[in-house]
Symmetry: C2
Subunit: 283 residues, 2 copies
Protein backbone atom coordinates (compact mmCIF):
# COMPACT_ATOMS: atom_id res chain seq x y z
CA UNK A 1 0.00 0.00 0.00
CA UNK A 2 1.42 3.37 -1.04
CA UNK A 3 1.42 6.43 1.21
CA UNK A 4 -0.14 8.37 -1.65
CA UNK A 5 -1.31 8.07 -5.24
CA UNK A 6 -1.07 11.24 -7.28
CA UNK A 7 -3.44 11.31 -10.24
CA UNK A 8 -2.31 13.59 -13.03
CA UNK A 9 0.98 14.67 -14.58
CA UNK A 10 0.41 18.38 -15.00
CA UNK A 11 2.33 20.94 -12.96
CA UNK A 12 0.31 20.29 -9.78
CA UNK A 13 0.89 16.52 -9.84
CA UNK A 14 4.60 16.97 -10.54
CA UNK A 15 4.95 19.55 -7.76
CA UNK A 16 3.23 17.19 -5.32
CA UNK A 17 5.52 14.32 -6.37
CA UNK A 18 8.69 16.40 -5.88
CA UNK A 19 7.61 17.37 -2.37
CA UNK A 20 6.53 13.85 -1.38
CA UNK A 21 9.91 12.61 -2.62
CA UNK A 22 11.67 15.28 -0.53
CA UNK A 23 9.63 14.11 2.46
CA UNK A 24 10.51 10.45 1.90
CA UNK A 25 6.98 9.19 1.23
CA UNK A 26 6.13 6.24 -1.01
CA UNK A 27 3.86 7.17 -3.89
CA UNK A 28 2.70 6.46 -7.42
CA UNK A 29 2.43 9.21 -9.99
CA UNK A 30 -0.26 8.18 -12.48
CA UNK A 31 -0.61 9.87 -15.83
CA UNK A 32 0.98 10.35 -19.18
CA UNK A 33 4.77 9.84 -19.50
CA UNK A 34 4.78 12.78 -21.91
CA UNK A 35 3.15 14.90 -19.15
CA UNK A 36 0.01 16.95 -19.53
CA UNK A 37 -0.53 17.91 -23.15
CA UNK A 38 -1.67 21.32 -21.92
CA UNK A 39 1.77 22.23 -20.55
CA UNK A 40 3.35 21.99 -23.96
CA UNK A 41 0.50 23.86 -25.60
CA UNK A 42 1.35 27.24 -24.04
CA UNK A 43 3.09 29.52 -26.48
CA UNK A 44 5.01 31.62 -23.98
CA UNK A 45 4.86 31.74 -20.20
CA UNK A 46 5.99 35.05 -18.69
CA UNK A 47 4.87 34.74 -15.11
CA UNK A 48 6.30 31.52 -13.72
CA UNK A 49 8.85 32.94 -11.26
CA UNK A 50 12.43 31.96 -12.03
CA UNK A 51 11.89 30.87 -15.64
CA UNK A 52 11.54 34.05 -17.69
CA UNK A 53 9.77 33.92 -21.06
CA UNK A 54 9.74 30.14 -21.40
CA UNK A 55 7.81 28.27 -24.07
CA UNK A 56 5.34 25.59 -23.05
CA UNK A 57 7.51 22.99 -24.71
CA UNK A 58 10.67 24.12 -22.90
CA UNK A 59 8.77 24.17 -19.61
CA UNK A 60 7.55 20.61 -20.19
CA UNK A 61 11.13 19.62 -20.91
CA UNK A 62 12.34 21.29 -17.69
CA UNK A 63 9.73 19.41 -15.68
CA UNK A 64 10.71 16.11 -17.32
CA UNK A 65 14.35 16.70 -16.44
CA UNK A 66 13.34 17.59 -12.88
CA UNK A 67 11.40 14.34 -12.48
CA UNK A 68 14.28 12.31 -13.91
CA UNK A 69 16.88 13.95 -11.69
CA UNK A 70 14.63 13.24 -8.69
CA UNK A 71 14.24 9.62 -9.86
CA UNK A 72 10.49 9.90 -10.08
CA UNK A 73 8.82 7.62 -12.61
CA UNK A 74 5.42 8.10 -14.13
CA UNK A 75 3.11 5.09 -14.15
CA UNK A 76 1.06 5.28 -17.35
CA UNK A 77 -2.56 4.67 -16.44
CA UNK A 78 -5.99 5.92 -17.28
CA UNK A 79 -7.88 6.21 -14.01
CA UNK A 80 -11.54 5.32 -14.25
CA UNK A 81 -12.56 5.58 -10.59
CA UNK A 82 -11.31 6.39 -7.09
CA UNK A 83 -13.07 4.70 -4.19
CA UNK A 84 -12.99 5.61 -0.51
CA UNK A 85 -12.55 2.32 1.38
CA UNK A 86 -12.74 3.89 4.84
CA UNK A 87 -9.11 3.73 5.93
CA UNK A 88 -7.58 3.76 2.44
CA UNK A 89 -8.43 4.37 -1.19
CA UNK A 90 -8.76 2.10 -4.20
CA UNK A 91 -7.81 3.46 -7.61
CA UNK A 92 -9.25 1.61 -10.61
CA UNK A 93 -7.53 2.02 -13.95
CA UNK A 94 -8.42 0.68 -17.38
CA UNK A 95 -6.27 -2.44 -16.90
CA UNK A 96 -4.95 -2.34 -13.31
CA UNK A 97 -5.75 -1.20 -9.80
CA UNK A 98 -3.80 0.29 -6.89
CA UNK A 99 -4.24 1.11 -3.21
CA UNK A 100 -2.99 4.01 -1.13
CA UNK A 101 -3.54 5.68 2.22
CA UNK A 102 -4.13 9.05 0.56
CA UNK A 103 -4.93 10.51 -2.85
CA UNK A 104 -3.96 13.75 -4.53
CA UNK A 105 -6.27 14.58 -7.45
CA UNK A 106 -4.41 16.72 -9.97
CA UNK A 107 -6.50 15.90 -12.99
CA UNK A 108 -6.76 19.33 -14.54
CA UNK A 109 -9.89 20.57 -16.21
CA UNK A 110 -11.45 19.26 -19.34
CA UNK A 111 -12.30 22.13 -21.64
CA UNK A 112 -15.41 20.23 -22.68
CA UNK A 113 -18.05 20.40 -19.98
CA UNK A 114 -20.44 17.50 -19.43
CA UNK A 115 -23.36 17.79 -21.82
CA UNK A 116 -26.99 17.44 -20.84
CA UNK A 117 -27.73 13.87 -19.80
CA UNK A 118 -24.07 12.80 -19.62
CA UNK A 119 -23.78 12.47 -15.86
CA UNK A 120 -27.39 11.28 -15.47
CA UNK A 121 -26.86 8.33 -17.83
CA UNK A 122 -23.36 7.45 -16.56
CA UNK A 123 -23.39 3.66 -16.10
CA UNK A 124 -26.70 3.41 -17.99
CA UNK A 125 -25.32 3.73 -21.49
CA UNK A 126 -22.73 6.47 -20.98
CA UNK A 127 -19.13 5.32 -20.42
CA UNK A 128 -15.77 7.09 -20.13
CA UNK A 129 -13.64 4.00 -20.69
CA UNK A 130 -13.38 1.86 -23.82
CA UNK A 131 -11.30 -0.83 -22.12
CA UNK A 132 -13.71 -1.15 -19.20
CA UNK A 133 -17.03 -1.17 -21.02
CA UNK A 134 -16.29 -1.82 -24.70
CA UNK A 135 -17.28 -5.47 -24.57
CA UNK A 136 -20.77 -4.52 -23.41
CA UNK A 137 -21.38 -2.99 -26.83
CA UNK A 138 -20.19 -5.83 -29.02
CA UNK A 139 -22.33 -5.86 -32.17
CA UNK A 140 -24.25 -2.79 -31.03
CA UNK A 141 -24.66 0.77 -32.22
CA UNK A 142 -22.64 3.40 -30.40
CA UNK A 143 -21.73 7.08 -30.49
CA UNK A 144 -18.07 7.91 -29.67
CA UNK A 145 -17.36 11.50 -28.66
CA UNK A 146 -13.61 12.10 -28.63
CA UNK A 147 -12.01 15.28 -27.22
CA UNK A 148 -8.38 14.61 -28.08
CA UNK A 149 -6.26 12.95 -30.73
CA UNK A 150 -4.50 11.06 -27.93
CA UNK A 151 -7.72 9.08 -27.34
CA UNK A 152 -8.06 7.77 -30.92
CA UNK A 153 -6.64 4.37 -29.94
CA UNK A 154 -9.68 3.86 -27.76
CA UNK A 155 -12.02 4.88 -30.52
CA UNK A 156 -10.39 2.36 -32.86
CA UNK A 157 -10.69 -0.38 -30.28
CA UNK A 158 -14.40 0.40 -29.93
CA UNK A 159 -14.93 0.30 -33.68
CA UNK A 160 -13.48 -3.23 -33.70
CA UNK A 161 -16.27 -4.31 -31.33
CA UNK A 162 -19.36 -2.33 -32.24
CA UNK A 163 -21.51 -2.96 -35.30
CA UNK A 164 -21.91 0.71 -36.07
CA UNK A 165 -19.97 3.72 -34.80
CA UNK A 166 -20.90 7.40 -35.05
CA UNK A 167 -17.59 9.15 -34.44
CA UNK A 168 -17.70 12.73 -33.12
CA UNK A 169 -14.24 14.32 -32.93
CA UNK A 170 -14.14 17.63 -31.01
CA UNK A 171 -10.73 18.53 -32.46
CA UNK A 172 -9.22 19.01 -35.88
CA UNK A 173 -7.35 16.40 -37.91
CA UNK A 174 -9.15 13.27 -36.69
CA UNK A 175 -7.84 10.05 -38.25
CA UNK A 176 -10.00 7.18 -37.08
CA UNK A 177 -11.01 4.95 -39.99
CA UNK A 178 -13.15 1.91 -40.52
CA UNK A 179 -15.97 0.57 -42.72
CA UNK A 180 -18.45 0.83 -39.82
CA UNK A 181 -17.56 4.45 -38.88
CA UNK A 182 -19.60 7.55 -39.73
CA UNK A 183 -18.27 11.00 -38.85
CA UNK A 184 -20.37 13.82 -37.42
CA UNK A 185 -18.64 17.20 -37.18
CA UNK A 186 -20.96 18.89 -34.74
CA UNK A 187 -21.14 19.40 -30.99
CA UNK A 188 -23.42 16.93 -29.24
CA UNK A 189 -26.11 18.84 -27.34
CA UNK A 190 -27.74 16.22 -25.16
CA UNK A 191 -28.01 12.53 -24.40
CA UNK A 192 -31.57 11.30 -24.17
CA UNK A 193 -33.25 8.06 -23.18
CA UNK A 194 -35.50 6.39 -20.65
CA UNK A 195 -34.00 3.80 -18.32
CA UNK A 196 -31.03 3.71 -20.65
CA UNK A 197 -29.48 5.86 -23.35
CA UNK A 198 -31.51 5.89 -26.58
CA UNK A 199 -30.12 8.72 -28.68
CA UNK A 200 -27.74 11.68 -28.93
CA UNK A 201 -29.07 15.07 -29.99
CA UNK A 202 -26.98 17.28 -32.29
CA UNK A 203 -27.76 20.70 -33.74
CA UNK A 204 -29.87 19.42 -36.61
CA UNK A 205 -30.06 15.67 -36.26
CA UNK A 206 -30.48 12.97 -33.68
CA UNK A 207 -28.57 9.69 -33.70
CA UNK A 208 -30.14 6.56 -32.23
CA UNK A 209 -27.71 4.39 -30.27
CA UNK A 210 -27.26 1.77 -27.54
CA UNK A 211 -24.44 3.58 -25.83
CA UNK A 212 -22.25 6.69 -25.78
CA UNK A 213 -18.54 6.75 -25.10
CA UNK A 214 -17.18 10.11 -23.97
CA UNK A 215 -13.42 9.80 -24.50
CA UNK A 216 -11.85 12.65 -22.49
CA UNK A 217 -8.33 13.31 -21.28
CA UNK A 218 -9.65 14.55 -17.94
CA UNK A 219 -12.81 13.43 -16.25
CA UNK A 220 -15.11 15.62 -14.22
CA UNK A 221 -13.96 14.98 -10.62
CA UNK A 222 -17.49 14.13 -9.56
CA UNK A 223 -17.57 11.41 -12.21
CA UNK A 224 -14.19 10.05 -11.05
CA UNK A 225 -14.74 9.99 -7.28
CA UNK A 226 -18.14 9.02 -5.89
CA UNK A 227 -19.14 11.32 -3.02
CA UNK A 228 -16.65 14.07 -3.85
CA UNK A 229 -18.02 17.57 -3.41
CA UNK A 230 -17.62 19.85 -6.38
CA UNK A 231 -19.01 23.15 -7.51
CA UNK A 232 -19.35 24.31 -11.09
CA UNK A 233 -17.08 21.51 -12.25
CA UNK A 234 -14.31 22.21 -9.72
CA UNK A 235 -13.38 20.16 -6.67
CA UNK A 236 -14.18 22.05 -3.47
CA UNK A 237 -11.05 22.39 -1.34
CA UNK A 238 -9.95 24.48 1.61
CA UNK A 239 -6.66 26.38 1.98
CA UNK A 240 -4.88 23.09 2.79
CA UNK A 241 -6.22 21.51 -0.42
CA UNK A 242 -8.42 19.17 1.63
CA UNK A 243 -11.64 17.92 0.00
CA UNK A 244 -14.76 16.74 1.81
CA UNK A 245 -13.30 13.20 1.79
CA UNK A 246 -10.77 12.68 4.58
CA UNK A 247 -7.40 11.65 3.10
CA UNK A 248 -8.26 12.85 -0.40
CA UNK A 249 -6.70 16.13 -1.55
CA UNK A 250 -6.89 18.09 -4.79
CA UNK A 251 -4.54 20.56 -6.48
CA UNK A 252 -4.17 22.56 -9.66
CA UNK A 253 -6.70 23.47 -12.31
CA UNK A 254 -9.24 20.92 -11.01
CA UNK A 255 -9.74 23.10 -7.90
CA UNK A 256 -10.65 26.20 -9.92
CA UNK A 257 -9.30 29.36 -11.46
CA UNK A 258 -6.85 30.92 -12.11
CA UNK A 259 -5.61 28.17 -14.45
CA UNK A 260 -1.96 29.07 -13.96
CA UNK A 261 1.28 27.08 -13.67
CA UNK A 262 2.43 28.92 -10.54
CA UNK A 263 -0.88 28.32 -8.81
CA UNK A 264 -0.77 24.63 -9.76
CA UNK A 265 2.81 24.29 -8.50
CA UNK A 266 1.83 25.95 -5.22
CA UNK A 267 -1.20 23.78 -4.64
CA UNK A 268 0.68 20.58 -5.46
CA UNK A 269 3.19 21.56 -2.80
CA UNK A 270 0.49 22.39 -0.26
CA UNK A 271 -1.42 19.16 -0.98
CA UNK A 272 1.76 17.11 -0.46
CA UNK A 273 2.35 18.79 2.90
CA UNK A 274 -1.26 18.08 3.87
CA UNK A 275 -0.71 14.42 2.94
CA UNK A 276 2.31 14.34 5.27
CA UNK A 277 0.29 15.94 8.08
CA UNK A 278 -2.53 13.47 7.51
CA UNK A 279 -0.19 10.46 7.52
CA UNK A 280 1.59 11.56 10.71
CA UNK A 281 -1.76 12.14 12.39
CA UNK A 282 -2.82 8.61 11.50
CA UNK A 283 0.14 6.91 13.13
CA UNK B 1 -2.66 56.42 -7.79
CA UNK B 2 -1.40 52.92 -8.57
CA UNK B 3 -3.65 49.96 -9.31
CA UNK B 4 -1.73 48.00 -6.69
CA UNK B 5 1.14 48.22 -4.24
CA UNK B 6 2.92 44.96 -3.54
CA UNK B 7 4.73 44.93 -0.21
CA UNK B 8 7.59 42.45 -0.09
CA UNK B 9 10.21 41.12 -2.46
CA UNK B 10 10.16 37.45 -1.62
CA UNK B 11 8.85 34.85 -4.07
CA UNK B 12 5.19 35.78 -3.46
CA UNK B 13 5.71 39.47 -4.15
CA UNK B 14 7.74 38.76 -7.27
CA UNK B 15 5.15 36.29 -8.56
CA UNK B 16 2.39 38.86 -8.01
CA UNK B 17 4.42 41.53 -9.82
CA UNK B 18 5.04 39.28 -12.84
CA UNK B 19 1.34 38.52 -13.17
CA UNK B 20 0.24 42.13 -12.71
CA UNK B 21 2.75 43.10 -15.40
CA UNK B 22 1.34 40.43 -17.71
CA UNK B 23 -2.13 41.83 -17.04
CA UNK B 24 -1.06 45.40 -17.77
CA UNK B 25 -1.72 46.86 -14.32
CA UNK B 26 0.22 49.77 -12.80
CA UNK B 27 1.92 48.85 -9.56
CA UNK B 28 4.77 49.48 -7.16
CA UNK B 29 6.88 46.65 -5.81
CA UNK B 30 8.21 47.77 -2.42
CA UNK B 31 11.07 45.97 -0.73
CA UNK B 32 14.73 45.24 -0.89
CA UNK B 33 16.51 45.48 -4.27
CA UNK B 34 18.55 42.46 -3.21
CA UNK B 35 15.27 40.57 -2.69
CA UNK B 36 14.28 38.70 0.44
CA UNK B 37 17.36 37.62 2.38
CA UNK B 38 15.59 34.34 3.09
CA UNK B 39 15.58 33.28 -0.57
CA UNK B 40 19.36 33.29 -0.72
CA UNK B 41 19.64 31.53 2.62
CA UNK B 42 18.31 28.20 1.37
CA UNK B 43 21.09 25.70 0.80
CA UNK B 44 19.41 23.58 -1.84
CA UNK B 45 15.86 23.61 -3.16
CA UNK B 46 14.71 20.32 -4.66
CA UNK B 47 10.99 20.82 -5.03
CA UNK B 48 10.44 24.02 -7.01
CA UNK B 49 9.06 22.55 -10.25
CA UNK B 50 11.22 23.26 -13.28
CA UNK B 51 14.40 24.25 -11.44
CA UNK B 52 15.97 21.00 -10.19
CA UNK B 53 18.41 21.11 -7.26
CA UNK B 54 18.92 24.86 -7.26
CA UNK B 55 20.75 26.76 -4.52
CA UNK B 56 19.04 29.63 -2.75
CA UNK B 57 21.54 32.01 -4.22
CA UNK B 58 21.03 30.76 -7.79
CA UNK B 59 17.26 30.97 -7.29
CA UNK B 60 17.54 34.57 -6.10
CA UNK B 61 19.65 35.29 -9.17
CA UNK B 62 17.04 33.69 -11.45
CA UNK B 63 14.30 35.81 -9.89
CA UNK B 64 16.38 38.98 -10.31
CA UNK B 65 16.93 38.20 -13.97
CA UNK B 66 13.22 37.50 -14.39
CA UNK B 67 12.30 40.89 -12.88
CA UNK B 68 14.84 42.67 -15.07
CA UNK B 69 13.68 40.97 -18.25
CA UNK B 70 10.11 41.95 -17.38
CA UNK B 71 11.27 45.52 -16.72
CA UNK B 72 10.00 45.47 -13.16
CA UNK B 73 11.84 47.72 -10.75
CA UNK B 74 11.92 47.40 -7.01
CA UNK B 75 11.25 50.55 -5.00
CA UNK B 76 13.39 50.37 -1.86
CA UNK B 77 11.19 51.24 1.08
CA UNK B 78 10.58 50.17 4.60
CA UNK B 79 6.84 50.13 5.11
CA UNK B 80 5.69 51.23 8.53
CA UNK B 81 1.94 51.20 8.07
CA UNK B 82 -0.87 50.46 5.63
CA UNK B 83 -4.12 52.37 6.07
CA UNK B 84 -7.54 51.61 4.60
CA UNK B 85 -8.89 54.94 3.35
CA UNK B 86 -12.26 53.54 2.26
CA UNK B 87 -11.87 53.54 -1.52
CA UNK B 88 -8.07 53.25 -1.59
CA UNK B 89 -5.08 52.53 0.61
CA UNK B 90 -2.29 54.71 1.99
CA UNK B 91 1.12 53.14 2.48
CA UNK B 92 3.45 54.95 4.86
CA UNK B 93 7.15 54.30 4.57
CA UNK B 94 10.08 55.53 6.63
CA UNK B 95 10.64 58.52 4.35
CA UNK B 96 7.83 58.51 1.78
CA UNK B 97 4.21 57.56 1.22
CA UNK B 98 2.20 56.05 -1.62
CA UNK B 99 -1.41 55.42 -2.60
CA UNK B 100 -3.05 52.55 -4.45
CA UNK B 101 -6.44 51.05 -5.16
CA UNK B 102 -5.34 47.68 -3.85
CA UNK B 103 -2.60 46.11 -1.73
CA UNK B 104 -0.88 42.76 -1.84
CA UNK B 105 0.87 41.97 1.44
CA UNK B 106 3.77 39.60 0.81
CA UNK B 107 5.82 40.43 3.87
CA UNK B 108 6.93 36.95 4.83
CA UNK B 109 7.22 35.85 8.41
CA UNK B 110 9.63 37.13 10.95
CA UNK B 111 11.24 34.20 12.72
CA UNK B 112 11.14 36.27 15.89
CA UNK B 113 7.65 36.43 17.31
CA UNK B 114 6.45 39.53 19.17
CA UNK B 115 7.55 39.37 22.78
CA UNK B 116 5.34 40.02 25.77
CA UNK B 117 4.35 43.69 25.88
CA UNK B 118 5.61 44.49 22.37
CA UNK B 119 2.25 44.97 20.69
CA UNK B 120 0.64 46.45 23.83
CA UNK B 121 3.25 49.24 24.05
CA UNK B 122 3.42 49.90 20.31
CA UNK B 123 3.26 53.71 19.96
CA UNK B 124 3.82 54.12 23.71
CA UNK B 125 7.54 53.51 23.76
CA UNK B 126 7.81 50.62 21.32
CA UNK B 127 8.71 51.52 17.73
CA UNK B 128 9.56 49.54 14.60
CA UNK B 129 11.08 52.42 12.67
CA UNK B 130 14.24 54.37 13.49
CA UNK B 131 13.62 56.99 10.81
CA UNK B 132 10.06 57.65 11.94
CA UNK B 133 10.52 57.80 15.68
CA UNK B 134 14.25 58.21 16.32
CA UNK B 135 14.02 61.93 17.02
CA UNK B 136 11.60 61.29 19.86
CA UNK B 137 14.42 59.64 21.78
CA UNK B 138 17.13 62.27 21.37
CA UNK B 139 19.24 62.31 24.54
CA UNK B 140 17.25 59.42 26.01
CA UNK B 141 17.93 55.85 27.02
CA UNK B 142 16.80 53.18 24.59
CA UNK B 143 16.96 49.45 23.96
CA UNK B 144 17.48 48.42 20.34
CA UNK B 145 16.55 44.82 19.46
CA UNK B 146 17.87 43.97 16.03
CA UNK B 147 16.91 40.76 14.14
CA UNK B 148 19.09 41.11 11.07
CA UNK B 149 22.46 42.46 10.01
CA UNK B 150 20.64 44.36 7.25
CA UNK B 151 19.06 46.60 9.92
CA UNK B 152 22.37 47.74 11.49
CA UNK B 153 22.22 51.08 9.66
CA UNK B 154 19.11 51.92 11.62
CA UNK B 155 20.75 50.94 14.88
CA UNK B 156 23.69 53.22 14.10
CA UNK B 157 21.38 56.09 13.30
CA UNK B 158 19.63 55.61 16.63
CA UNK B 159 22.93 55.58 18.52
CA UNK B 160 23.71 58.98 17.00
CA UNK B 161 20.59 60.37 18.66
CA UNK B 162 20.12 58.57 21.96
CA UNK B 163 22.23 59.19 25.06
CA UNK B 164 22.53 55.52 25.89
CA UNK B 165 21.83 52.45 23.75
CA UNK B 166 21.47 48.85 24.90
CA UNK B 167 21.99 46.90 21.69
CA UNK B 168 20.47 43.40 21.48
CA UNK B 169 21.45 41.58 18.29
CA UNK B 170 19.47 38.38 17.64
CA UNK B 171 22.01 37.15 15.08
CA UNK B 172 25.71 36.41 14.97
CA UNK B 173 28.47 38.78 13.90
CA UNK B 174 26.90 42.08 14.93
CA UNK B 175 29.06 45.10 14.13
CA UNK B 176 27.38 48.19 15.56
CA UNK B 177 29.87 50.33 17.43
CA UNK B 178 29.78 53.49 19.50
CA UNK B 179 30.87 54.89 22.87
CA UNK B 180 27.26 54.96 24.07
CA UNK B 181 26.45 51.35 23.09
CA UNK B 182 26.28 48.37 25.43
CA UNK B 183 25.69 44.88 24.06
CA UNK B 184 23.40 42.30 25.61
CA UNK B 185 23.57 38.84 24.09
CA UNK B 186 20.33 37.43 25.41
CA UNK B 187 16.73 37.11 24.21
CA UNK B 188 14.47 39.83 25.55
CA UNK B 189 11.57 38.21 27.44
CA UNK B 190 9.16 41.06 28.02
CA UNK B 191 8.61 44.80 27.77
CA UNK B 192 7.17 46.31 30.95
CA UNK B 193 5.87 49.71 31.94
CA UNK B 194 2.82 51.66 33.00
CA UNK B 195 1.39 54.25 30.60
CA UNK B 196 4.66 54.01 28.71
CA UNK B 197 7.57 51.60 28.42
CA UNK B 198 9.81 51.57 31.49
CA UNK B 199 12.07 48.52 31.13
CA UNK B 200 12.97 45.40 29.18
CA UNK B 201 13.20 42.07 30.97
CA UNK B 202 15.94 39.61 29.99
CA UNK B 203 16.75 36.17 31.41
CA UNK B 204 18.75 37.44 34.35
CA UNK B 205 18.65 41.21 34.24
CA UNK B 206 16.27 44.07 33.53
CA UNK B 207 17.23 47.20 31.61
CA UNK B 208 15.52 50.51 32.37
CA UNK B 209 14.75 52.58 29.29
CA UNK B 210 12.58 55.28 27.74
CA UNK B 211 11.90 53.37 24.57
CA UNK B 212 12.43 50.13 22.69
CA UNK B 213 13.15 49.82 18.97
CA UNK B 214 12.38 46.44 17.49
CA UNK B 215 14.27 46.44 14.18
CA UNK B 216 12.78 43.60 12.13
CA UNK B 217 12.93 42.73 8.46
CA UNK B 218 9.25 41.75 8.51
CA UNK B 219 6.57 43.15 10.77
CA UNK B 220 3.70 41.20 12.22
CA UNK B 221 0.86 41.91 9.76
CA UNK B 222 -1.41 43.03 12.59
CA UNK B 223 1.18 45.64 13.55
CA UNK B 224 1.45 46.83 9.94
CA UNK B 225 -2.23 47.08 9.01
CA UNK B 226 -4.76 48.30 11.56
CA UNK B 227 -7.91 46.18 11.48
CA UNK B 228 -6.37 43.26 9.62
CA UNK B 229 -7.52 39.87 10.85
CA UNK B 230 -4.77 37.46 11.71
CA UNK B 231 -4.47 34.21 13.58
CA UNK B 232 -1.36 32.91 15.33
CA UNK B 233 0.73 35.52 13.57
CA UNK B 234 -0.57 34.74 10.06
CA UNK B 235 -2.91 36.86 7.95
CA UNK B 236 -6.26 35.16 7.52
CA UNK B 237 -7.06 34.70 3.82
CA UNK B 238 -9.49 32.68 1.76
CA UNK B 239 -8.69 30.61 -1.34
CA UNK B 240 -8.55 33.79 -3.43
CA UNK B 241 -6.01 35.34 -1.01
CA UNK B 242 -8.59 37.90 0.13
CA UNK B 243 -8.26 39.26 3.67
CA UNK B 244 -11.04 40.72 5.81
CA UNK B 245 -10.24 44.15 4.31
CA UNK B 246 -11.81 44.62 0.87
CA UNK B 247 -9.09 45.38 -1.70
CA UNK B 248 -6.27 44.10 0.50
CA UNK B 249 -4.82 40.70 -0.36
CA UNK B 250 -2.03 38.61 1.15
CA UNK B 251 0.27 35.93 -0.26
CA UNK B 252 3.22 33.78 0.70
CA UNK B 253 4.64 32.92 4.10
CA UNK B 254 2.63 35.66 5.83
CA UNK B 255 -0.56 33.66 5.18
CA UNK B 256 0.76 30.55 6.91
CA UNK B 257 2.51 27.24 6.40
CA UNK B 258 3.95 25.53 4.47
CA UNK B 259 6.75 28.08 4.10
CA UNK B 260 7.64 26.97 0.58
CA UNK B 261 8.73 28.77 -2.58
CA UNK B 262 6.20 26.99 -4.77
CA UNK B 263 3.35 27.86 -2.41
CA UNK B 264 4.49 31.50 -2.30
CA UNK B 265 4.72 31.68 -6.10
CA UNK B 266 1.23 30.20 -6.40
CA UNK B 267 -0.33 32.58 -3.91
CA UNK B 268 1.35 35.62 -5.46
CA UNK B 269 -0.21 34.60 -8.76
CA UNK B 270 -3.64 34.04 -7.22
CA UNK B 271 -3.52 37.36 -5.31
CA UNK B 272 -2.64 39.23 -8.52
CA UNK B 273 -5.61 37.65 -10.30
CA UNK B 274 -7.84 38.62 -7.38
CA UNK B 275 -6.56 42.20 -7.68
CA UNK B 276 -7.56 42.19 -11.37
CA UNK B 277 -11.00 40.82 -10.52
CA UNK B 278 -11.40 43.44 -7.80
CA UNK B 279 -10.35 46.30 -10.09
CA UNK B 280 -12.67 45.23 -12.90
CA UNK B 281 -15.53 44.93 -10.42
CA UNK B 282 -14.89 48.47 -9.25
CA UNK B 283 -15.20 50.06 -12.68
Amino acid sequence: MYDCIIIGTGVAGISAALTLRARGKSFLLLGSPSLSSKIGAAELINNYPGLPAISGDAFRQALSVHLQSSEIEITPAQVTGVYDMGDHFGVLCASSSFEAKTIILATGVEAVKPIEGELEFLGRGVSYCATCDGMLYKGKKIVVVCTSKSMEDEAEYLSSLAAEVTFVPLYKGAEVEGANINYINDMPRAIKGDMRVRRVVFGKIEVECDGVFMLKTALAPSALVPGLKSREGHVEVDRQCRTNLSGLFAAGDCTGRPYQYAKAAGEGNVAAHSVCDYLSGKK
